[in-house]
């Protein structure tokens, strides 16, 4: 017994510090994802693209989309929501750990599709997109507040804001994990 421990202690003392240039990602088998040269997005696992992934049926007609400033207005609101959330200490960590370039695009597509502004939603379904993020109801409330700020800044009438939220609210069961 004493011999074993002495040997172990000796081994510990004799251990060499790893070289400065050690590639720890390689040592631990961490895959480094490269951003796409054109879109700047990180790759995601393959999935079936479908508008059904947006989680709800879109509104008909162009009136509601006009309240949001058309396609460009909707894209700006989505990007602003993401920016606000990245800067929001309540939920910044969730956003920082994910691909914001991709989120701005897919969130914009989702809003645009749901509001009947004529986009295709190419993102993942709500359950897959939020898998293992550990989102709580408080996190979701914070995101809703940021979306409301973005919509208010863009001058979207409150009733129209709620109409967009009504398309998003049913997905809460797929988003809230704990």
């Amino acid at each position: 017994m004493l011999l074993t421990t002495t040997a172990a202690a000796a081994l510990m003392l004799l251990q060499q510090a790893p070289a400065e240039s050690t590639d720890w990602d390689a040592e631990f088998g961490v895959e480094v994802k490269e951003r796409d040269a054109v879109t700047g997005e990180l790759p995601v696992d393959p999935y079936t693209q479908s508008n059904a992934n947006a989680g709800a049926k879109p509104y008909d007609g162009a009136v509601l989309a006009a309240d949001f400033g058309g396609r460009e207005g909707i894209a700006r609101i989505a990007a602003r929501t993401v920016d606000l959330s990245e800067a929001d200490p309540r939920i910044a960590d969730i956003f920082a750990a994910n691909d914001m370039v991709r989120l701005k695009r897919t969130l914009g597509e989702q809003f645009c599709y749901l509001l009947g502004a004529g986009c295709e939603y190419t993102g993942r379904d709500m359950k897959t997109a939020h898998a293992e993020m550990g989102v709580t109801k408080a996190d979701l409330n914070a995101l809703v507040e940021n979306l409301q700020i973005a919509m208010r800044e863009a001058g979207v009438p409150f009733a129209a804001q709620n109409r967009l939220l009504s398309k998003l609210a049913p997905a809460s069961k797929d988003i809230i994990e704990r």
Partner: protein, 335 residues
Amino acid sequence: MFASCLLAVCQSVAALASPVDPAPAPQIAYARVIDAAPLPPASAPTHRAHQPVSTDASSLAGDGVRLGKVDLFDGGKLLLTNGVATVEGSSGGGIARWATIAGRQVPGGIGASAHATAIELPDFGWRSYGVAVGFGDRLELSLARIDFDTRDAGALLGIGEGYTINLDTFGAKLRVAGDVVYGEPWLPQIAIGIEHKRSRDGALMRALGAADAEGTDVTISATKLLLSRSLLVNTTLRYTAANELGLLGFGSANDGYKLQFEGSLGYQLSRRALIGAEYRSKPDNLGLGEDDWLDIFAAYALTDRLTLTAAYVELGSIATFSDQRGGFVSAQVAF
């Protein structure tokens, strides 16, 4: 044995590592090693890990208090989704109980609220105040007192001018399904509850003809914010024997518990403002011509914590004094 030997080795390493300091601070060797090591260049994946921890980027740094795993008064609910206090102390819309849970907490947290309400009527003055505690999105416990000033009517009723009737309400409400905002639009937030009421004027209640000075209401409420229409809809069924909510006792020689209805309809003008109307049916156990109640209200969240409610109330006949309509103001602070 093995572990203790390792510890001994570590201590000897520690002793080796800090020999020169004339007054050696009680310091562990590896702490100095880390101090001395230069920070590696911040590459993109590790950049955030090397940032100093921001004081408000941590989940511990909400404005509440943490008690074990429970957030106390940390907030996080969407504005107005905790409702405003009813005159009986429960979360609701002023005179009707809602399925909402008081306090600004989210699941896993504990919140609280306090309120004060005044109603000015032609012949009576109403003051009520109370507190409520909410546990997650699940359970609400409330306590409220109504002071009902009979003013000149007291003399005419033979109980003395300015006689004040006092009623205590102990409430509990449990959310059993649904969510007021999230989830499918057809599934409202549903809550069951009780309100145990005790009159502090028992002898007077019996003299008025009431069978009891205390009673327990059983309620079931369903509340939903229909986002596509910005409409808040609430219905509550209440099994009660209370005369004028219990201010005039409970039941009578001939009449007891009956099912009553409460309904609310609100329109959300903004995140902070809700206007609407409420209706509450009431029994007439005492045969005094007790009327159903109506109100038209406006609630405004002045800050995240402070909500003000103003209403026009139509309370009909109270203790034979008819046409009791007037103003209702209420302030609620929630954490």
